[in-house]
């Protein structure tokens, strides 16, 4: 098990740092490829969400220089990044990934979005061939663990999403949302979700602006709304009470002067900006204006986390599940290590048995079918009896650290050198067996 994990999350790094590390969806495949060409890495993938950027890798020796990759890739100096990085190896890396997938490491413990995001990252990496053997197993297990945590604990039961918090905040400002107008700037899943929540609570009309006008039209149609050309954004925006913005723009697109314009055109009626973009779309300066209320992703999540203090108990339960699952995964990986040996041992003995039967058959002459079966059963029985102890020993040893030693001894005793060097593909096929 030579897993390594490095990254930053909402606890270790402020939004400013995460903004610099964020990898846009479009560049994720390239990053994955770069990563896989980096020395010491066998397979690796990136999870990049608004709350975390993490590299999960299976390395040749367990000591690949993932930090070095981050410095190079993001053109950052070690002193800028080191204070915010966390790094896990082996068992700890597995545990961390399980916790992330199960939403225990989320700002809002139990929120459901993270699992989807990890799955997407996994699919992207798989598509470019960055995930093959070990990592594939690790992630499959992580998804299974996440599912188990979700079904066996109540961690996700009162799952409060960003979207529903946005609705609550909007209600704090506007009272009722009846007849309010929503403006989506930058079509994205999360903004669509937030808009859907707002509409469900009474918002009446919706505008959509997107750099790609066609996408704006598509989204607007789904909401019975109106698509706006991106160039007309500033002229129409003041008509909206609630603006959900999530563009991929590297700079703030709403600045103080825009806010002042909007307010004067709206006769100072308040506006609520939900900024779920990283980097942020609304400049902090604009948020200081009277009558403009801006909540960026961190603010929203903080608001969410105040709802969920009572999830701690369930989270403890979930942590216990994670611990046992990490043990299980570790054991399974070790077992996988011994499985090829067991298989080749069985193959080896089977070959001997067949050869011996063939050898004696000539001398015994014609046998009745009953006799055939009897010989078959007899020889098999002997082999199984003899094999029983070594195989059990191998399997037990697999769960402990001495696995490699035992495997070595067995291989040497039975002269299994050739077969143990089975190509990795074969190993994995064996591993796929339940």
């Amino acid at each position: 098990m030579r897993f390594q994990l490095i990254g930053v999350n909402h606890k270790s790094a402020p939004l400013e740092v995460r903004e610099r590390l964020a990898i846009p969806e479009s560049r994720l495949p390239d990053t994955c490829r770069d990563l896989n060409n980096y020395p010491g890495i066998e397979e690796a993938m990136v999870i990049s969400t608004c709350n975390r950027v993490e590299i999960v890798a299976h390395t040749t020796n367990g000591h690949a220089d993932l930090r070095g990759f981050l410095y190079d890739h993001f053109h950052l100096k070690p002193e800028e990044l080191d204070a915010h990085l966390y790094e896990f190896r082996e068992k700890d890396a597995v545990r961390h990934l399980f916790r992330v997938a199960s939403s225990l490491d989320s700002m809002v413990v139990g929120e459901a979005q993270i699992l989807g995001q990890v799955k997407e990252a996994y699919a992207t990496a798989r598509a470019v061939g960055a995930v093959r053997g070990q990592l594939d197993q690790l992630f499959s297990r992580a998804f299974a663990v996440a599912k188990r945590v979700r079904t066996e604990t109540a961690v996700g039961s009162s799952s409060v999403s960003i979207a529903s918090v946005a609705v609550e905040l909007a209600k704090k400002i506007f009272g009722t949302l009846e007849g309010k107008t929503v403006f989506i700037v930058g079509a994205g899943k999360m903004s669509e979700l937030a808009a859907r929540h707002l509409m469900a609570h009474g918002c009446a009309s919706i505008f959509v602006a997107n750099r790609t006008y066609e996408r704006a039209i598509g989204l607007a149609q789904r909401f019975n709304g109106q698509a706006i050309k991106f160039d007309d954004l500033y002229n129409t925006c003041d008509r909206a009470d609630i603006v959900i913005t999530s563009t991929g723009s590297p700079h703030a697109i709403f600045r103080r002067e825009h806010g002042e314009q909007f307010l004067s055109r709206r006769k100072n009626r308040p506006m609520f900006f939900i900024d779920i973009a990283v980097p942020r779309d609304v400049s902090p300066e604009m948020g200081k204006l009277d009558g403009i209320f801006t909540y960026d992703i961190d603010d929203l999540q903080q608001a969410v986390s105040s709802h969920v203090a009572d999830r701690h108990k369930e989270a403890e339960l979930a942590e216990a599940i994670i611990t046992s699952e990490v043990e299980r995964f570790e054991a399974r990986l070790h077992t996988l290590d011994v499985v090829p040996t067991i298989v080749s041992l069985q193959d080896h003995l089977e070959t001997i048995r067949q050869a011996e039967i063939d050898r004696v058959r000539g001398r015994m002459g014609q046998l009745t079918p009953e006799q055939e079966i009897a010989i078959e059963a007899l020889t098999r029985g002997i082999i199984n009896k003899v094999m029983h102890t070594p195989i059990t020993t191998l399997k037990t040893a697999a769960k402990e650290s001495e696995a490699t030693t035992v495997v070595d001894v067995v291989r040497r005793l039975f002269n299994l050198h050739d077969k143990a060097e089975a190509p990795p593909e074969k190993k994995n096929e064996v591993g796929m067996r339940p």
Binding site: L169, K172, I173, F174, Q302
Partner: protein, 270 residues
């Protein structure tokens, strides 16, 4: 007897006063309900007290203490009206202390009614007092709402996680309470000042604009008008509106206090 009922009312309002101080720091549904019931009960006592005064025959409001009692009652009615419409007790944070203070002063002792001796048009005088007091009560609520608006705005801007649950209603609701009170109060205040002028002219033959009472009243009315106008015209709210509302409120307090310096608006030998 009227004074006794008033003191009962005062005891009830005291609970409201405690609520006003507690509500700012913590939210308790139970306590706001208790405060609401106490205030309602207080209003019943208060009403009995006022009715007894009324039945005594004179234009009895024309004594400082009786006037204060009436103003407290009207403010409380305003508070209840808002509660009926918006289901929020939060304006109580401002209204309760003021009501308690007014009732407390009014419940101290009884005063002779002196002003009425100079006035021939008693109907005009009664109208003046009623109208202007409704104007005052509306101004008080509007002032309170603008403070609450500031408070809520600050909470929302501070993005404190606790801000999600608070005793304050939504920002726009506070804004509406303030604006509607303002609009409602304005005609009363205007008519109150007009009827007051009529009374003054009938008593003295002319209006002395240099008299502090009249000067401050006019100032207050002008600020009031500026508030309505800026709000209507450019939607002033938040800090600027609170500033104006505070100014109007201080002017109103000054106009009230001017009773003690004014030559023409002397209630009693105070």
């Amino acid at each position: 007897m009227s004074l006794l009922w008033l003191r009962f009312a005062l005891a009830c309002y005291f609970i409201g006063l405690v609520y006003a101080f507690v509500a700012l720091s913590r939210t308790s549904d139970l306590f706001s309900r208790i405060a609401l019931h106490a205030a309602s009960l207080g209003m019943v006592f208060h009403f009995v007290s006022l009715t007894e005064l009324f039945l005594s025959g004179h234009v009895v409001w024309a004594s400082v203490h009786n006037g204060e009692s009436l103003l407290a009652f009207l403010s409380m009615s305003f508070f209840m009206l808002i509660y009926a419409i918006y289901q929020t007790t939060s304006p109580g944070v401002v209204v309760f202390p003021v009501v308690f203070f007014l009732t407390f002063v009014a419940a101290l002792d009884e005063q002779p009614v002196l002003l009425t001796q100079f006035v021939s048009h008693k109907g005009w005088l009664a109208a003046h007092i009623f109208l202007i007091f409704i104007g005052y009560a509306a101004l008080l609520v509007s002032f309170g709402a603008s403070l609450l608006y500031l408070l809520q705005e600050r909470r929302l801007k501070a993005k404190k996680s606790t801000s999600l649950i608070s005793f304050l209603p939504a920002l726009e609701v506070i804004d509406q309470i303030g604006y509607r009170s303002l609009l409602l109060g304005f005609p009363f205040m205007t008519l109150g000042l007009l009827t007051g002028s009529v009374v003054a002219i009938s008593a003295y033959g002319h209006l002395d604009f240099l008299d502090p009472k009249i000067m401050l009243s006019v100032l207050m009315w002008v600020v009031y008008m500026v508030m309505v106008f800026t709000r209507w015209n450019s939607g002033w709210r938040g800090r600027r509106a609170a500033f104006l509302a505070t100014f109007a409120f201080v002017a109103a307090l000054a106009a009230w206090a001017a009773n003690y310096f004014s030559a023409i608006h002397r209630f009693a030998a105070s």
